[in-house]
Symmetry: C2
Subunit: 380 residues, 2 copies
């Protein structure tokens, strides 16, 4: 929110930058509508003079042409409109406007009064590095898969990956609590398998179960996972709601890193004209909710994110956001070894490489495959 | 899922119909990718023969051309992949595929084995009609607004609307728990005001507070609202996560109708090529989660839904979905009286008219304005 520090520093208003599609006149009108839609939802001519008109209604702070039929409006809202809740902050930022095509949230600028409501990531980049004892190189994460294997089979995989030194061994996000592989058996067996491997190697691999579940069971699974030796937690806030991620990361007794998975959250970013920017969703919003790393599909894999969008996510993970820790971008989605140099170029060393099926491709010896990849990362 | 009853009736698989954008070859490939992406997420050539290959991986049941560069694929998934959780069912339907442009969930066909996991809407159309004693005509709902008024001022509005016979008097969805109007004071005062008006008129208006809140406070607010005399509850599942709506509607002690608001959920439907269909999101998904009515912007108001999309929502509210009750479509978003005849034509009598700011436009006497509108509805 570089352009309007005054608004944010006043601690009375927060700012949201929207991209708008259309002619200048159309976009000015859209910006004006956002000011009302996100606050009073009331005909302008019926609003009496006074505090509501002067303070509660959104205010256009800046309006710029950014391209052909594309404008950017920075709109500020009274801090009070967001109450003290993440859900209501998101509601003011994009509640009803999400229903209108051609409006995209680029970023938000939040004053201390709002940022102080969030504890943010508990570990962040430096905390995660300490846990897996990897002070400089990119971390590596792989996934236990495919869905359909038993808990015992997945635990065997986990053991071999940990022997090979993979930092974070995660459940595939499709593993929930299914008859062929219950959550409890899987979490206990895989955590034990990773510990066993660590004892053998002296390593510090962690197992990360997927605790995405019914809203009333997420914390229960988190506690179970911690008690049974998991070293991190995976959750898909698109499925549970982002506030469940926030609660999880603020729960005192569950002091484990939490990594967010993008499942069911794609629709916010598939349009270049509507929805949320990659920077905001995977960066700012996820950090406010307390994720220590965010998984997303790296460009050129099975998905359609562009290089620029991936770089935007990395910026969102690293840019100053009050006192909130920097978090790891965690590109994945069909990654192969030949992508590594590109990824170093884009992210430097501060990322987590998520590599799944590809590790199985180089022969059945998962430990050897893991070691080979780790050596490649350490060499760079 | 008319075309493939066999799949669903077998009770072993459920079906999802996806719209796909591209040439026939591209769309066939997309369909094939969905089968893997939503289940095993593993290279096809590395999957061993057996149950995973034959049963766990999605299966293309039907593939049809539906327009220029547009195809529809019906894909079935093993019932076990969804476990017994709503979050995981949504994950299999659209988890990772949400990240790929040009894939849209049109509808789902669920067998009894999955439908039985859901209690669905507690009241539905007939239950809501009984509560407000309106057996035939469309119901009317209005919103307390604008944001910025005090609880006392909003209660005074609620009183006048109830005197005028408005069936459901709801918080504007921007009213949360703000310093200018706390949730508790507002809920208590407005519920009391509506009761007072009912005592005077012999009417049956209900007050519906917005209980959208942090994930750990939604049930607390619901209990508070019920204890203090609210007659229904408003929640935005786009902000809380859809599973929180489900939990709320299954909570034994909170036996109040629950109506869903579309805030922050728009990005799923703003693209015609990607995301979720109006039929699925506002119809099937919302009914599974237990909403008794779904709010959405009617065509021609301040938003961009087309008539066809609104009709699709109404179909989703009314089509057979196992034993789940029919629910009310609740069109709103800048509605005016001159829209009424069109709405009757589209929805018949089974809808809830949500009319907000417009009721304030015909002079300061909200009671008189409400009565006038009610008379118009009763005459038709």
């Amino acid at each position: 929110m570089e352009r309007s520090p005054k608004v944010v520093l006043s601690n009375k208003r927060f700012a949201v930058t929207y991209s708008l599609e259309g002619t200048k006149q159309q976009c000015l009108l859209k910006a004006r509508h956002i000011c009302f839609e996100q606050t009073v939802e009331f005909p302008e001519d019926l609003i009496p003079a006074g505090d509501i008109k002067n303070h509660i209604i959104g205010r256009i702070e800046d309006f710029q042409k950014t391209g052909q039929n594309r404008f950017q409006a920075e709109i500020s809202f009274a801090v009070e409109t967001a109450g003290a809740e993440f859900t209501q902050l998101l509601n003011v930022i994009f509640g009803n406007s999400s229903l209108k095509p051609g409006i995209k949230v680029e970023k938000t600028g939040l004053p201390a009064k709002i940022l102080d409501l969030f504890t943010g990531p508990r570990f962040g980049q430096s905390g995660l590095r300490k846990i897996v004892r990897a002070p400089k190189r990119p971390l590596i994460c792989t996934a236990l898969k495919p869905m359909g294997l038993s808990a015992a089979q997945l635990a065997e995989q986990a053991y071999r990956f940990a022997l090979g030194g993979i930092d974070i061994i995660k459940d595939d996000h499709g593993l929930a609590d299914q008859p062929f592989c219950s959550f409890e058996e899987r979490a206990a067996r895989c955590a034990e398998a990773v510990k066993k491997a660590n004892r053998k190697t002296g390593g510090h691999s962690v197992y990360m179960p997927n605790i995405t579940a019914s809203a009333d069971r997420v914390l229960e699974r988190a506690h179970y996972a911690k008690e049974n030796g998991a070293g991190a937690l995976l959750i898909a806030p698109g499925l549970t709601g982002p506030d469940t991620l926030r609660i999880l990361t603020q729960e005192q007794k569950i002091d484990l890193p939490v990594i967010s998975h993008p499942a069911f959250w794609g629709s916010f970013v598939t349009s270049s004209q509507s929805g949320l920017s990659h920077y905001f969703l995977y960066g700012q919003l996820s950090r406010l909710a307390g994720a220590d790393a965010v998984i997303y599909p790296h460009s050129g894999g099975r998905f359609a994110f562009s290089k620029q969008e991936c770089m935007d996510i990395a910026r969102g993970c690293n840019d100053k956001l009050g006192k909130l820790k920097k978090i790891f971008p965690m590109p994945g989605g069909g990654m192969t070894e030949d992508k590594l140099s590109e990824m170093f170029g884009m992210y430097g060393r501060d990322f987590i490489l998520l590599i799944g099926g590809e590790l199985h491709r180089h022969g059945a010896d998962l430990t050897k495959n893991s070691r080979r990849l780790l050596e490649m990362l350490e060499k760079v």
